[in-house]
């Protein structure tokens, strides 16, 4: 697979001069690319570069305004996803279309275009799981599975249709390093059987490790095609964002300051229905440092965040102290007033009210620390100024402070929310997934703001599943697994494999067909 692909083979998919406009934007402009059978082709680009529009055109969700698509050398029209699947195009979306309360096999059946007899389907799924050595129990309900396992359901769904082109949209954004390795093995095997793979990502080292060719998009146009094995990641990143990549400038955090946030022996029952119990969580975050908390989704991160934010107060006041003050039993408002700001993972509905304007959303948390509502009356001008300053400082792409939160893309809303909290100069900032879905340039800007905030003497706690991010940001790192927090280690002395193993914990693949999945399940007999 490492040898260069045979240039004489007819391309499986060839796009020529594809253009697509939406009111006000040219999403795709004169894009041509071709993918050969067995080739893993990277589609690189920031959010808004036109990757998803292009992929939607290939998968039949949208129609190109101009240009043509050739499939195995013949020009074809792809009017619908069904037509795409009939041609042999499969797609694994970033956000899975899964049904939590149903079993794996039911989910797979729902994804098929034709009705297949249950027993026959089971046999076919078993054959695929076996031939790709994918551990997945068909009778398990989806909500009990890890993200990696859920992704496998989508992959199996695609493989059942014997695809000739597989589109993977940001497949590794929520996987552990071990899961990523496993996914790459699977993808290489699929490619070695002649299936072409279009791999969408902005994680450059993954593209370097996996792909044989890359097409880089920016502003709806192809800016370069290259061989990622030869090109440097720095060069690719610069092509992608169209500017010199900003390097995060770390302050000197060696002499970390006084303890600002201290948590000791925090125990909290998980949130129903699928929550994880926090058990004896203890840590300290000091002024001037960034403490990273790594872990695979669903290991107690959201519980930890709600416990710190005050949405679910602890039973003992001294379980959490802020600058020495016991705040464990306080609710969210008083904690904010004292300087503890929290950004939850879910933007719409938790961090922001979708149907409120950005200005109104900024009042909701900033009123505790900024004089936005003197005597309980909203000071419209101050609110607008504050929201405006956040929009400018964090480069939020929006029509203005009156725009509804739901009208912003995920990445832009995230920038706004991060800006709203950082703009209040909190003493302690706890953030969950600070750059999820945010493009590389903006992510770098957000990370820099976090570093700067810490440099000014705040303590920053970053809860993230993105290890690269944590390694780049954090001074010290702990891992949360099954609701328990490991002792913090200085990032400088940790290897990525070591962290990956800590993160995997019981979640790691056993390789026996059944995957272990949590302490809560240890008492149950393993599923065959």
């Amino acid at each position: 697979m490492t040898q260069p692909p045979d240039q004489t083979v007819r391309p499986r998919l060839a796009l020529s001069h594809i253009s697509k406009s939406f009111p006000g934007v040219k999403a795709n402009e004169d894009i041509s690319l071709s993918v050969r059978p067995g080739e893993i082709h990277a589609l690189l680009g920031e959010n808004g570069a036109g990757k998803s529009t292009l992929v939607k055109i290939i998968y039949g969700v949208q129609q190109a305004d101009e240009g043509s698509i050739a499939w195995n050398g013949e020009t074809v029209a792809i009017p619908s996803p069904k037509a795409a699947r009939r041609l042999g195009i499969g797609m694994v979306f970033q956000h899975f279309s899964l049904f939590d309360a149903m079993t794996v096999i039911e989910n797979i059946a729902l994804g098929l275009d034709e009705a297949v007899d249950r027993d026959e389907l089971k046999a076919r799924v078993a054959a695929i799981l076996d031939s790709y050595s994918l551990p997945l129990d068909p009778e398990r309900e989806v909500h009990t599975l890890s993200v990696g396992e859920r992704q496998r359901i989508e992959i199996v769904r695609c493989l059942l249709q014997k695809p000739k082109l597989l589109i993977m949209d940001e497949p590794t954004s929520v996987l552990t390093p071990q899961e990523v390795d496993k996914l790459f093995l699977t993808l290489r095997q699929i490619a070695s059987e002649g299936c072409a793979i279009l791999y969408i990502s902005h994680k450059l080292h993954e593209i370097k490790a996996l792909c044989e060719a890359a097409t880089i998009l920016r502003g709806g146009k192809v800016v370069a095609t290259c061989d990622p094995k030869i090109e440097t990641t720095k060069r690719m990143a610069e092509l992608m964002i169209g500017a010199e990549l900003r390097q995060i400038v770390h302050g000197d955090s060696s002499g970390a300051g006084a303890v600002r946030l201290s948590v000791s022996g925090l125990t909290l029952a998980g949130e129903p229905p699928f929550g994880t119990d926090l058990e004896g969580v203890s840590f300290e975050a000091r002024a001037g440092e960034i403490l990273g908390i790594a872990g695979v989704a669903g290991n107690g991160q959201s519980e930890l965040l709600t416990a710190l934010s005050g949405e679910r107060p602890a039973t003992k006041a001294d379980a959490i102290t802020l600058d020495g003050k016991p705040i464990g039993t306080m609710s969210a408002g008083p904690r904010r007033a004292l300087g503890l700001a929290c950004v939850p993972e879910e933007r719409n509905g938790h961090a922001a009210v979708p149907d409120f304007s950005l200005a109104d959303n900024s009042i909701l948390t900033a009123r505790h620390r900024l004089p936005l509502t003197p005597l309980g009356i909203i000071s419209t001008g101050d609110v607008k100024n504050f929201a405006d300053s956040v929009i400018k400082r964090f480069d939020v792409r929006t029509t203005g402070t009156a725009a509804l939160a739901r009208s912003l893309s995920g990445g832009n809303l995230q920038k706004f929310i991060m800006g709203r909290e950082i703009g209040q100069q909190p003493g302690v900032l706890v953030v969950c997934q600070p750059t999820w879905g945010v493009d590389a340039g903006a992510a770098a800007a957000i990370r820099q703001e976090l570093v700067d905030l810490a440099a000014k003497g705040s303590a920053v706690v970053v809860i993230s599943q993105d290890l690269d991010e944590l390694l780049e940001l954090a001074d010290r790192l702990c891992v949360i697994n099954e609701g328990r927090l490991s002792a913090p280690r200085a990032v400088a002395e940790l290897g990525i494999d070591e962290i990956g193993l800590m993160m995997g914990g019981v979640h790691g693949e056993s390789g026996h067909g059944a995957s272990g999945h949590g302490a809560s399940d240890l008492g149950e007999p393993a599923h065959a």
Partner: protein, 307 residues
């Protein structure tokens, strides 16, 4: 003698349970598709009055039952158009549907108050249906057997068929179902129509079988009990059957007490029993929900618009 009493208890229990079983079964399918239709009482009343009017004018209770289903579907379609096509709020629309049903049935029924018809008779020949013992099994009318068959049918449909799987998928995650390519709105229309038909049939059971005489607000809030029953049954048809018969037993307490000559307990208190049981069950279920049970379809009551 005691067997005679037992048989008569069974007969009244089954009769009292059947209409709520039907209405609840229909609502169960509606809710499985992710729609909360609180208009069950209204649809039942429309079915009851349509059934009675047709049976009275044609002399055929069979036609009455068919008309009741039709009226139930028609009322349900009002709800469906408002909530699915016009994305109106489901709770408010459902409540309005009940008020509408109460009004319409009073209006249409005004001319029928006090009139009587021949009640729906047993299916099996007299030798079986009037046998002192066997009538507990064979002495019921067609709707009772139909309701039992429907419980089995719905249960198999939901668990074993592809169409049932798709219906559940729509209720579980409408956005994903839409993304995969299932017609969410059309499926919900179908489910609501089915729910309407069964609610209409359940309503007609009051006017055609239980009390073959028209009276205003004949269903006496049984539609609300049917709604509670769906929650009680955790959206499972088998448990729904059990629950309906349990509620039927509670509902007939008043009659049984009278027959047994119990006078120390006010009959009004016993008449309250089913409604108290409803409140108790709903409270119990909501406590149960805190322990993290995943029973309700995840998209229940959420409006969906394809975009």
């Amino acid at each position: 003698m005691t067997t005679a009493i037992l048989v008569s208890i069974v007969m009244t229990l089954v009769a009292a349970s059947t209409p709520i079983l039907l209405a609840a079964l229909g609502e169960l399918v509606v809710e499985k598709s992710g729609v909360l239709n609180l208009g069950v009482e209204g649809m039942m009343l429309c079915g009851a009055v349509a059934g009675f009017a047709v049976a009275f004018s044609t002399g055929s209770t069979g036609l009455g039952l068919v008309a009741a289903c039709g009226a139930g579907i028609a009322t349900a379609m009002v709800f469906a158009v408002l909530t699915l096509s016009l994305t109106a709020n489901q709770v408010a629309t459902g409540l309005a549907l009940t008020i509408f049903g109460v009004g319409v049935s009073s209006l249409i029924g005004a001319g029928f108050v006090g009139r009587t018809i021949t009640r729906l008779g047993p299916v099996f020949p007299a030798a079986l249906s009037e046998h002192p013992l066997l009538r507990a099994v064979f002495g019921h009318d067609i709707v009772v057997y139909l309701s039992l068959a429907l419980v089995l049918g719905v249960s198999l449909f939901l668990r074993r068929t592809r169409a049932g799987l798709i219906l559940r998928a729509v209720g579980e995650n409408d956005a994903s179902a839409h993304a995969i390519g299932y017609p969410v709105i059309a499926i919900r229309y179908g489910a609501i129509a089915f729910g309407g038909a069964l609610a209409g049939l359940g309503g007609a059971y009051f006017s055609l079988a239980l009390t073959p005489m028209w009276a205003d607000r004949l269903t006496a809030g049984r539609g609300w009990i049917a709604l509670a029953l769906v929650v009680f049954a955790a959206w499972k048809p088998g448990r729904l059957l059990l629950g309906a018969y349990l509620f039927g037993a509670v509902m007939t307490l008043e009659l049984q007490a009278k027959a047994a000559g119990i006078t120390w307990l006010a009959p009004e208190l016993l008449a309250m029993a089913p409604y108290l049981a409803t409140v108790a069950v709903l409270t119990m279920m909501s406590i149960g929900r805190k322990t993290g049970r995943l029973d309700a379809p995840a998209c229940l009551g959420k409006p969906f618009s394809a975009s």
